[in-house]
Symmetry: C2
Subunit: 182 residues, 2 copies
């Protein structure tokens, strides 16, 4: 299908980036292409009820900030790890979407020779880029030194990799990983 | 320290296998040896309260069965993935400690050339073994065909790899992984 056609289907079905990535990962799993899962949301459990003859009920719990990224797994033996973020902006990607501990985690992965990247979606433009962690780090460092708080779209186009949107899988990021690392 | 001494310290401090593995993984992370995290427990959230000016409170939630193993991460670029289990038995390790979906996940990892294993602890003996997933599969298949429901300790000694217990890190499983795969 032409890109225009895919895009119009894409926008009409009201799917979220997370749902699309989950569908993509299910496809990879079913086809034996890669094993990638989204990590569960970390929860701080405070109070649990254990009723007789039925399942334990969590009665009080709180959301914790994740200390890592959302997705990880294996492709051809290599460790892959990523975070997915979206913006409605059209000309830049805000860095406030990331947290210091996530950047630290990406750094640890890169040092351990893992494949670390972010999936950046410009929702209004319906464009999704794979942006490698080592390309992200300088923008983060710059922001911390009171530099700009976003990555210009032009830089993402240049240093990142546009992922073609499809039906099945919807966001074929492994194709890009394969080109870049294998 | 001698093994006897380490063991007596080990038994007196009342640590759990999970705590020891978390300590070990923190050590690996701090030393830049490996990046391995325990996945959060998956929770099915049913009801959340959003009070004004304070954090969201989960009021009703349930534990979900995990679809993968508990630990994964990266060592020297390679994907590693494992589950940790313990038994009070002294002569065999019960297979009921595992679930079909975990074995399936291990199978998917092995097919994708990832490093998949289990950490088996005999708590009464204070012995911990690294047992590679491909060694585990035949016992699982056999059990499903009405075979025996446990792995004989002698088989674990022969096919598995005894991990020396220490202080810091406590369960140095990466040493074994390094010998076996690098
Ligand atoms: Mg996230
Ligand atoms: Mg478990």
């Amino acid at each position: 299908p032409s890109r225009a056609k895919v895009e119009s289907v894409y926008s009409n079905r009201g799917m979220t980036l997370e749902e699309d990535l989950n569908e993509t990962n299910e496809y990879y799993l079913a086809q034996g292409i890669a094993v990638v899962h989204k990590k569960p949301t970390p929860i701080q459990i405070v109070n649990v009820d254990y009723p007789k003859r039925s399942a334990a009920v969590i009665k009080e719990a709180y959301f914790k900030q994740a200390s890592t990224t959302d997705y990880n797994g294996v492709y051809k033996g290599k460790y892959i790890d990523f975070e997915a973020k979206e913006t409605k902006n059209k000309t830049s990607f805000p860095l406030r979407n990331f947290h210091e501990h996530q950047i630290q985690h990406m750094n640890q992965i890169v040092k351990q020779n893992g494949i670390s990247f972010v999936i950046l979606m410009f929702t209004s433009l319906e464009e999704i880029y794979l942006f490698e962690a080592p390309s992200l780090f300088p923008y983060w460092q710059d922001m911390k030194k009171d530099g700009r708080k976003s990555i210009p779209k032009a830089d993402i186009e240049k240093k990142g990799h546009l992922i073609e949107l499809g039906y099945h899988p919807r966001i074929d990021y492994i194709k890009t990983i394969d080109k870049l690392y294998f």
